[in-house]
Amino acid sequence: MISIKGDYYDGKTSRKISTSLEIYDNGEVKLSHQDNRGVVALSTLRVSSRVGNTPRSIGFPDGGKFETGNNDAVDKALARFRRQSWEHILHLLESRKAYVFTALIAVIVFSWAMLQHGIPALAKTAAFALPAETNNAISQGSLEILDKGFFSPSEIEQDTKVRINRYFVEMAAKQSQDFDYRLLFRKGNGIGANAFALPSGTVVLTDEMVELVKHDDELVAVLAHEIGHVVHRHGLRRVIQDSVFAMLVVLITGDVSSTSSLIIALPTVLVEAQYSQGFEREADSFSLAYLQSNDIDLVHFKSLMLRLQEDHEDDEGVLGYLSSHPPTAERIKMFEDLKEQAKTK
């Protein structure tokens, strides 16, 4: 006979009775404070699965519960007298260092692969599988918000606008006709020298950008970069990537809801910045490829980058990883690499 010390609660009141569970060699059990009418087979009782070293409870048919901290004795009796439930495997996984270490490596590899390749690839496939009109749907209202919050009407001369628009129309004609390409001019105010692309195909150029550049081909590089965002469906892909990432975080850390939201927010910002930088690289190479195929000197791309860097001098340093754009040096390197390639050809 095995005897396991513990406490008994009858389930009717909160009274505690210190007692022992007596397990006989034929697999029947009885609580030591009860008489022989209380004898039952261990295999008919509800035994809670083991979680770390928390107390085990053994439920009797009348609603009473025996609780004990002696997990090992309970496990031994269970192994001998009844079929283990599948949940005992969980404790096995949770208690062997080798299994936990394997799980750790698997989780790290999975997270990295999902972040680096899985989510972007999934979003790309999904974005191109969706009808082109989806791009219009997610653009709705964006321009109004920008107009209300930041922009004021453009003060650029009409002639200049017409001239720039000619480059834009020429460029748009060579692209996928899934989009309704339009070029708009706005005064950027606080935003400064910049250009934006809405997923629907609308490109906004700020007056400050027009004033910043010294050569029309630099503007062509800007416009090509923005059209790159459009044809690669970056807006839609961003929406999908961010929501898949959010769902994954909820799924995985769903049982860590007590953790402060700040801890979740920081990696989210980091990941979204990395994804954004990926899109910018794609748009840069689109722009470079366009310049190349139209026999425009790639040096204009470089001078554009240098001018922009001078204009927004504060966006690098430690905070570079949180920036939505890759560092200028890296963007210029892409241009240098292309030039190298062109030379060797």
Binding site: S14, K16, E67, L90, L251, D255, L262, P267
Partner: protein, 334 residues
């Protein structure tokens, strides 16, 4: 028959205790994540139950521990419904913005129901000495503090915010019971006004400080913002937790919580730094450290014998409310 003697009296408060360890919980936590990934999320319901069983089971009061009894299948059903609702809500708000307003209204209307179901599910699946807790709040009471008062907030310039928080805590505690014995909440809205008054001053001072720092150096501003945010959060958690516990009564029995702002702030700060530096691997230790500290500072002050609480017959509550509430971040914790 051996019956335990009275375990404490007003002169002998009973100390809460947390007996879990970070290392042990790390293994459970990691296997939870691993199996959740492997099963494409299905296991998350079991993961939640194992996590809660670990934390409840290690929370002890006078030689007995708490017990989490939820059925993972009930939670899984709730999660599937919540997940589906989340996808619909997200798709609609991204692609058909006008319709999302309607969905939002429906969601607001459903919130009190979610809150009530979630509280009932949690209470009825928590047991101590084989007696379950209970919650019997209704839709109307929850609607007052989760719809009506939040709607009035902007019209009162936020001045009724403490009334709302008081109402939400009151909803939880006054409608909770241990077995057939109901809890009583004796805090008034005035207690909450005091706390939020102090929080307002702290917040204003913090914003003023940051407004001076940021123009000087962006980096210095960001580095200062983190501890300020955590201090604000620690101050709020400590004062509200202490108030809620100290003003809750179970018949003549009472609770005594004595969380210190500085201790909690240091815990938050070191936890956050360690979590960031370990890319999240410190999370289990962080959770255990907080649970241990909270238990250390909490006492149950019995007014006499605690053997006489009587169980009540319970019907089962589905997990849908709790899980959906969690998914949409309805905050109903103590």
């Amino acid at each position: 028959m051996m019956s335990e003697q009275i375990q404490g009296d007003a002169t002998h408060p009973m100390q809460f205790e947390f007996t879990g360890s970070g290392g042990e919980y790390f293994k459970i936590w990691l296997v939870n994540i691993f199996l959740t990934i492997l099963t494409l999320g299905i296991y998350s319901a079991w993961a939640k139950v194992r996590k809660n069983r670990y934390f409840y089971g290690n929370t002890r009061l006078g030689d007995a521990s708490f017990d989490y009894l939820a059925n993972p299948v009930a939670i899984l059903k709730g999660r599937l419904i919540a997940f589906f609702a989340f996808v619909v809500y997200f798709a609609v708000s991204e692609f058909v913005p006008p319709l999302s307003l309607l969905l939002g209204l429906i969601f607001i209307g459903v919130t009190p129901w979610l809150v009530v179901k979630s509280l009932a599910f949690r209470a009825r699946n928590t047991a101590f000495r084989n007696i379950r807790f209970d919650f019997k709040g209704d839709y109307g009471a929850a609607a007052r503090v989760y719809i009506l008062l939040p709607i009035l907030l902007p019209f009162t310039l936020g001045l009724i915010y403490p009334v709302m928080v008081h109402g939400q805590k009151d909803l939880v505690i006054s409608n909770s019971a241990y077995g057939t014995t109901g809890f009583r909440f004796e805090a008034g809205a005035g207690n909450f006004y005091r706390i939020f008054g102090m929080l307002f001053l702290i917040g204003a001072a913090a914003i003023a400080l940051l407004a001076m720092l940021f123009p000087v150096s962006k980096e210095a501003g960001m580095i200062t913002a983190l501890p300020l945010y955590l201090f604000f959060f620690a101050f709020m958690t400590c004062h509200i937790s202490n108030l809620v516990y100290n003003k809750s009564f179970l018949e003549q029995h009472s609770l005594q919580s004595d969380l210190k702002v500085y201790d909690v702030f240091m815990l938050y700060l070191t936890n956050t730094i360690a979590i960031v530096l370990t890319l999240g691997l410190f999370i289990p230790w962080a959770n255990v450290r907080l649970a241990r500290y909270r238990a250390e500072r909490l006492q149950f002050i019995p007014a006499g014998d605690i053997d006489g609480f009587v169980a009540r017959e319970l019907e089962n509550v589905s997990g849908a409310g709790e899980e959906m509430g969690e998914m949409f971040d309805v905050n109903v914790g103590l």
